[in-house]
Symmetry: C2
Subunit: 499 residues, 2 copies
């Protein structure tokens, strides 16, 4: 019998873990760098290396080529990813059948953040990370961002720094460790391992890395195109509903938060009626929810039963309505996205020069949550969204998630629900508005408008059957169980500041 020892997980009790996250989200105290110092450092990292990205023709791709029988675009090693086709049939939405190119990357990658406590506050080791498709080339990423190809050394580069901390569990506590989906409109069943660990070991601080508190990172996400999608995805899975706090009534919760404030010198908004304090309460409390978890699962079950989605993998050359030239594959109506090829030079990457395909969006996207105070607690309006690359038909998505340009010509009744509400919202209802980048290793300068708005009290509680109101702590609970909340829905949560 091949009996092995159960791995030594040293998982912290969820109580202390969630409280630690909360304290970090409430604290800007950082012995290494305050916010202006970080911005200086980051500018230096951006200019420390030489980057160059050039569009090339498919013919000039090195090691990448179109398969003769399938037309699929793939790497000679068979690794990384391939651009293939899918044929989609569904009974949801205005179009019941279509085919499209899609990225097939079945490998599970690791997106990992190493954390460590300094002065009792959890700090996150973040990386100034270059990706060829990034706006500004360098954005702030997780400590480790590795495909399986990375760590099995397919591309003959060096192993990513700090990866060993994630393999050596005896000296680390695992705080978060879940599988999460990526863009279901672009990837076929892609998932990453989102992992946060806490170490008590000494950590050497390398050139492109810095320690930040969660409050500092939240503040950075309120700037445009600074924190990359991988980092935002991992951060979005952080729960805050510490068991000591989650069942407290409003008055006692306020007292407990003020006590935290006093002990940790955080800056919890003194005006307990501010949006930041409503966000804290929605993240921490389990009271006042409009629908309990059994009801939410029933809502999801009903939609999965009603919605049909058949996705068949087909050769890229059989995809209809898409045209291929020497340097791009694009939709005949110039909608959606195109596939392009680039040559990259980067002085600080494991491999200094390479070529690869990228996905280039044709229009800009809009990703938005409508929030509303219900039963004295902030609720988020969630949409159950069908996307062809989804693992299980639907995932929970933001209230609005669309390519805005695609709908410009459409009649109002054909436009996504709540799109016009968001487009016409008055500025004083906007709680957060930023441009955020999609993953720069696969997408070329894709940046979407990300909005969080707070609706008036007279905004109707009654919503279409594929929408539901959830508190922040409920959404976090669903994120924990994998494949419930899509990457857009997760990442947008990471722009919520507590202070």
């Amino acid at each position: 019998m091949n009996i092995k020892r159960q791995p030594q997980y040293n998982t912290k009790s969820s109580t202390s873990k969630e409280l630690d996250f909360l304290i970090s989200a409430l604290s800007e105290r950082n012995p290494f760098m305050d916010f202006p110092a970080f911005l200086d450092w980051f500018e230096k990292r951006r200019s420390a290396h030489l980057f160059n990205v050039e569009k090339i023709s498919f013919e000039d791709l090195d090691q990448w080529s179109f398969g003769t029988s399938t037309g699929n675009l793939r790497h000679a090693s068979g690794k990384f990813f391939t651009i293939e086709g899918i044929l989609v049939e569904t009974n949801v939405g205005p179009i019941s059948q279509w085919s499209q190119p899609i990225i097939n990357q079945p490998e599970i990658g690791i997106l990992g953040i190493l954390t460590k406590k300094f002065n009792g506050v959890l700090h996150f080791l973040m990386q100034a990370k270059m990706e060829p498709g990034n706006i500004g080339f360098v954005q702030l990423g997780p400590t480790v961002q590795a495909t399986r190809s990375n760590f099995t050394q397919v591309h003959l580069g060096k192993a990513p720094p700090y990866l060993e901390y994630f393999f050596n569990k005896s000296s680390s506590n695992i705080l978060i460790d879940t599988l999460q989906s990526e863009q279901g409109g672009r990837f076929l069943f892609k998932r990453n391992r989102n992992i946060i660990i806490e170490t008590s070991r000494e950590v050497e601080l390398l050139d492109d890395y810095c320690w930040l508190t969660l409050a500092q990172i939240h503040k950075l996400i309120s700037k445009d195109n600074m924190v990359n999608m991988d980092a935002r995805s991992v951060l979005a899975s952080i729960p805050f509903a510490a068991s000591e706090l989650k069942n407290l009534d409003s008055i006692n919760l306020n007292l407990a938060l003020k006590k935290l404030d006093a002990v940790n010198a955080s800056k919890i908004p003194t005006d307990m009626e501010s949006f930041h304090s409503r966000v804290i309460k929605s993240a921490v409390s389990s009271r006042g929810v409009l629908h309990d978890s059994g009801e939410v699962i029933s809502w999801f079950t009903e939609l999965k039963v009603c919605y049909e989605l058949n996705v068949e993998r087909i050769p890229l050359k059989f995809v209809k309505g898409w045209l291929k030239t020497e340097n791009q594959i694009y939709h005949e109506k110039k909608k959606y996205f195109s596939v392009i090829a680039i040559a990259v030079q980067a002085s600080n990457r494991e491999v200094k020069k390479w070529t690869q395909p990228l996905i280039k969006p044709q229009g800009s996207g809009l990703i938005a949550y409508i929030t509303k105070n219900i039963n004295g607690i902030l609720h988020f309006l969630i949409q159950a969204k069908v996307e062809p690359g989804n693992f299980d038909i639907i995932e929970m998505a933001p209230t609005v998630q669309c390519i805005t340009d695609s709908y410009e010509q459409d009649q109002p009744e054909e436009r996504p629900v709540f799109l016009d509400y968001i487009l016409n919202i008055s500025p004083e209802k906007i709680r957060s508005s930023t441009m955020q980048s999609e993953e720069g290793g696969r997408f070329y300068k894709e940046s979407n408008r990300c909005l969080i708005v707070e609706a008036d009290d007279d905004f109707s509680l009654e919503v279409p059957k594929n929408f539901i109101w959830l508190t922040l702590s409920q959404i976090k609970e669903f994120i924990k169980y994998n494949n419930y909340v899509n990457v857009e829905g997760r990442c947008l949560l990471s722009s919520l500041r507590f202070i």
Copy 2:
């Protein structure tokens, strides 16, 4: 804008729901029939109708035939199910590649139980249900057991009784409503909607139906081949961890249960050290767990990252190592299962006569949980099991789940972990031992030995890396989130009696 009203769910708060289930599991008071009366009634139902099942040749199947290009066995309507092939590649287990026949039934079916309170105790409307593959033809099933073909009337029969209660949500409370997987070794991605609703309306009691408390049903499951797999699957998803009870310490929990006892005249074992009372405590309490939920999810994530499973659908005629005669398709080593054809006569079914393929097992199976008292609370030893039809690589399975005969010739080190422990266990450690049938609509007289054993204190806590110890309330929580616990793991839980 296509704004519809949010459905009127009337979902009960989980508190009262879980307490209602607990009271029913502790009560044999039934104004309709006590246990002996039920057994009388059931014998009468078994003999009330004429059933006949005969093995026939594939050629004599009506409307079913083998596709000329694929060799797939399918119905002329394209509905019900097809027998196809899969090619499996995995890095788990002794065999890294094989092909096999599999049932493809992508439609989501409904397994629904209607409940109603009588004298304050929840009663479950159960059906004496005939299936052609059943041992004894008739077993006790859920109120409604319907494929989508059933309720869309593909086979031109009548709509199943009581189905309307499940569609008319305004007069019902939904107690449970989740999607659950079926046998991953036999079905490709099959799932059913497991749903329990409570009605306050009058319910007409039809001939083949009866009201039973949960305690009565649990007692029936301790008899061989009485309660069908569909019913056991639905019942297994019932949670008991009422929020009033789950955080109580041992002494206060005992007091609370005694109070329930006094009020409801249940028969909670007075010896609080008995196995039944350990089961109640493990189902109700959230204290004393060896691993918290974050840790369990991390364990599951790690295995999903390490385990590879590629399943490709192939035509049945390309399956290797399987032979087809005029009346069966079987494996060349006479292992696993065979595909046969039958003709059925049933006087009480919607359609009186039909033919269909069935799966016939080649050997008998063994399904067993090892339990152990840890931290003063009963834990179940769970296995993360790879099965080709799984939705997501692995699901949580019982400690042992195998076809015993397949392993008889194997060397001890090749046999499943813990199989020999179970086969050699001394009788005084066996807490439940029954024969239970698989779904008689797809499987021909398949009945497996189901065991729950309680290991000694010296049984090692250290287990192979694909095993983990969970309490009953933890397993129930994972069942709630879908595709975590396989059908064998779920159904075996339903044989746990509280009194």
